[in-house]
Structure formats: C-alpha cells, structure tokens
C-alpha cells in the first residue's frame, strides 16, 4: 500500500498506509490524523481538507479542477502547492507522498 506522510503544523509526522483508490483526505481522517476536518466527506463542498503538497511531489498529484481552485481561493494561507486533499486520489505512484497541514486547520 502506498505510504503517505502527513506533517502536522507543529512538525509531528504521521506515516500512514493508504489503499490506492482512497483519497489523501480519507487516509488522514480514517486514521485520526488531526488537522484535516473534511466536514463534507470529500464532496468538494467545504474546503476544510486543505494541505500543502511537498514541492518534490507537486507535479505528481495531478491538476486541481476549476471547482477546487475556486474553493482554495478562499482558504487561509494558500501556497503554490495548496490542494484540497479530498481531490487527490492515491495511486501506487504516490507511494512516499508528503503533505503538510496548515496551521489554520489546527
């Protein structure tokens, strides 16, 4: 199973095995990683699943849709590699992915 590292805003790391086909958001929520609320459960309706994709991985996580970009536009502390983690599907190629969680979702 692909391993994903979630880094809390205080630096605490969670390395989680996430099944391919799940989203990066689901990997965190289902394993009690704090900092991703995901209120809408991945319906791209809440923007409470904001993460920063590690620069080295930014090219591999795919493009964000227009819908996602508009939602991110209203998130706090947006950076160039900001994504809504419910919109990133986990695949074998993402084994080793590192995402950081914003302070504002703490």
């Amino acid at each position: 199973m692909p391993k994903i590292t979630y880094v809390e805003h205080n630096g605490k790391e969670h390395v989680i095995d996430v099944a391919a086909g799940m989203t990066v958001m689901e990997g965190a929520v289902k394993h009690n990683v704090p900092g991703i609320d995901a209120d809408c459960g991945g319906a791209c309706a809440c923007a409470t699943c904001h993460v920063y994709v590690d620069e080295a991985w930014a090219g591999k996580t795919g493009e964000s849709s227009g819908m996602e970009q508009s939602m991110l536009d209203f998130a706090n502390d947006v950076q160039p590699t900001s994504r809504l983690s419910c919109q990133i599907k986990v695949t074998a190629e993402l084994d080793g992915l590192v995402v950081r969680l914003p302070q504002s979702q703490h």
């Binding site: 689901e26 289902k30 209120d39 319906a43 791209c44 809440c46 819908m67």
Partner: protein, 411 residues
C-alpha cells in the same frame, strides 16, 4: 464541576461520532461509550442518495472511520445497541436487554427518523424510504434500467434519488404536494431551475399532486393520487421529510419542542445531558432565533460544542449553516437560511448552469444558493457571517470575480 469519569453518547451517527473523537482530541482522559442502534460504525448519510446509491462508493468509504479507529482512541463503540431509558436521578442509561450503564455526562445524538407515508399500502413490498445504509442496500438491487420509479416528495433527497435513477436508466416520476419542487427550502426561481433541469433529463413531474393510496397486491403496482388518477410503477421512494428522534429525551422528561431544546452550549434542561445534531432545536445565532437544522454542518458543530463543554475547552465559533446537494453535474452549495428574504439577486447564468441566488432582507445578505459556483458559496458564507449588507448591483456584477466583490463589501 466535578470530575467527569464517563461520557455516554447515545446515537453513533455523524454528530455522535464527531463528539467522541473531539473529546479525545481535546484531551479527555475518561471513559467514552458511543452507543448506536445501527449495525455500522458512524457513517456519512449524504452519499446514501448520491454515490452510495449509484454504487460508485463502496461501504468502507461510507464509514467516517473504520471501527478500529475508535478502539485506537480508546472509545468503546457499541453498535446494534439501543438505549431505551435514561434514569436522570441515578445518572444511568439502560440498553435494550436490561444492561445499565452509569454516566457522568450524557450526549443525546439520536438524529431523526423519516416521516412515514400516511396512506394505505405504504407497507407494500416495493415501497422504500431512505435514511440508513440498510435502506440503500434494499433499494439498490431494484435500480435496474427500465424500471418505473415514483418518488414521492421533491425535496433534496427525492431529487437526488431521481437524478441517480435517471442516470442509471430508470423511468422516473416525481410527485410533489406543493406547487414546485424544493418549495420548503428555496425560492421559486431556483425551484424552476431544478424543475427544468430534471425535466430535460427525462424526469416527469406531477406537482400539486398528493399521493392518496399505494396500489398493489403482493407488491406495489401504482400510486393513486387524490384526484383519482394513478401513476403505474415498479417501485416507490417516499421522501416526505423527517422528524427529530426525541422519544428518549421525552420519556426522560427533558424539554422538547419539535426537537430537544438546547442552548448555545448544547445543554438540555438537565445540566449533565447535552444534545446535538438533527434531534435538537438550537439558537441560530446569525438569525436571532431558534431552529432545527438537518445537516452535516450542524451535526459536526454540535459534536465540537459538546466536547468543548465537557472538557472545559474554548467554544468553537458557530458557523453560518451550510449544506450541499449533488444532482447530475450540478453541485448546489447553500450557505445561510433564506427564510424571510425580501429581495433575490441572481448572479451568473442559469442557462450555463453556473449561477448563485442571493437572498437579502433589508439589504442584508441572509443566504446564498450557489450552483456550480463555489466562490459565490464561500464568499457569500463569509459575508453572511459578518452580517454584511451588499448592494444588489455589486452582487450581480459579473465583470469582477466574486472574491473581489466580497472583499469590497467587507472593507
């Protein structure tokens, strides 16, 4: 406050599950028992009328968390167990079968139940309701191309089911007692848009039409209407609304008025008992009144508030109520409550299926229904939160991105 050793949460749904996890995140060290009548650990209901019904989402993804995630947090999850009695003087909850459990704090998160169809024949095979995963498990095998479905009630759930059914190739007729779909929750303009879109997808509507009887012998054959006509069908889905599940609270003598009455801190009339989610009537701070909300937002917020109260943590800010609905390629996102609006402003284009309906009262923004327009949803939500007044001409000015309009209005 004396030391809280054990918290019992009655109802393992969206609100109850959230409360349990939040308690641990806020550092609660005592015992947590999360007790639910359904066989599954807490799961999301929204997909029940969307991707879970269509088969795109499997059951393991429907669950908010796998059962082990509760064990990891040292939360005792009892599924398939019903709480039948609360003894407030002894601070005990009794399970079906007689087991009694003492509590220091109790959280009622009992949700709601569907309003039963009040007509003869409603219990015939082929007549379905939609509230639980088990309901969908029963319904899904019937969703075969060519089958004739009658949906009774054109609320969000009814329309979502109609959309899934059409997409899967069923013939769909929607019956609605009111003169338009979504009459209880939105404006005539937005109702008209959804009516037209569903019609363009082949859904037939019978409006101002009341089901009087479900006909059939061994199984449903047709729905008979008040005017004497009938709609032949193979299956029926009744989606005529829900009632707050307050029976436990009532027998325990708590204050109940169309929902368990709570204050902003989720406290019931008993200081050791909190109530959260669909089952409560709570102060709606942005609107200066009380009300009952049926939404994920409300369930999660209730869980956060009750957990903050029990642990003595800072209260979370109350959000403007929000909701969403997915139908075909339409994502409807709603912020606020439009009740009592005196002006409607449409931004964007209904023809292009990307627009927002803003509801104002005396110039102040009350609510927004945004179809495929996330910026208007999130920006509108922020404006409502701040109690902002916005000029109608500014709201509909498509020469500027909505974020700019929002920023200007808040300046």
């Amino acid at each position: 406050m004396s030391e809280i050793g054990r918290v019992i949460i009655v109802g393992a749904g969206q609100a109850g599950g959230e409360a349990a996890i939040r308690l641990r995140q806020l550092g609660f060290k005592g015992e947590i028992m999360l007790i639910g009548e359904e066989p599954l650990p807490p799961y999301q209901r929204p997909p029940l009328s969307k991707k879970f019904l269509s088969g795109e989402m499997p059951e393991d993804r429907l669950l908010l968390k796998p059962a082990e995630a509760y064990a990891e947090e040292n939360i005792t999850l009892l599924t398939g167990k019903k709480v039948v009695w609360i003894d407030r003087s002894q601070k005990k909850a009794r399970l079906e079968g007689g087991r009694e459990l003492g509590y220091d704090a109790l959280i009622l998160a009992t949700g709601s139940r569907v309003r039963a169809l009040p007509v003869a024949g409603a219990d015939l095979p082929g007549v379905f309701m939609l509230r639980t995963a088990a309901d969908v498990d029963a319904l899904r095998p019937e969703f075969k191309p060519g089958k004739r479905l009658v949906v009774i009630g054109a609320g969000y759930i009814g329309l979502e089911v109609a959309a899934v059914a059409r997409t899967l190739g069923l013939e769909v007729t929607v019956l609605e007692a009111a003169a338009r779909p979504l009459a209880r929750v939105t404006s005539p303009e937005v109702s008209g848009f959804f009516l037209d879109y569903h019609a363009s997808k082949g859904v037939r509507f019978a409006l101002s039409a009341q089901a009087a009887v479900i006909k059939g012998d061994a199984r449903v054959r047709a729905v008979g209407l008040k005017d004497g006509s009938e709609v032949p069908c193979d299956l029926v889905l009744a989606g005529i609304g829900i009632l707050p599940e307050t029976s436990l609270a009532e027998t325990a003598g708590l204050k109940v008025e169309d929902g368990i009455v709570v204050d902003r801190q989720a406290r019931t009339s008993d200081p050791s008992i909190y109530a959260i989610g669909d089952c409560v009537r709570r102060p709606l701070v942005h609107y200066d009144r009380e009300g009952r909300l049926e939404s994920v937002h409300n369930a999660i917020e209730g869980g956060k508030i009750a957990a903050a109260m029990i642990t003595g943590s800072a209260m979370p800010a109350e959000e403007v109520p929000w909701f969403w609905s997915d139908q075909y390629d339409l994502k409807l996102q709603i912020a606020g409550l439009s009740t009592g609006y005196d002006q409607l402003v449409i931004r964007g284009s209904m023809e292009k299926r990307a627009f927002a309906a803003f509801y104002l009262k005396a110039g102040k923004l009350l609510a927004v229904d945004a179809v495929n327009s996330p910026a208007e949803f999130l920006g509108g939500k922020r404006l409502i939160e701040r109690g902002a007044s916005v000029a109608p001409a500014a709201l509909s000015d498509m020469s500027k991105p909505f974020k700019e309009i929002m920023t200007a209005a808040l300046a």
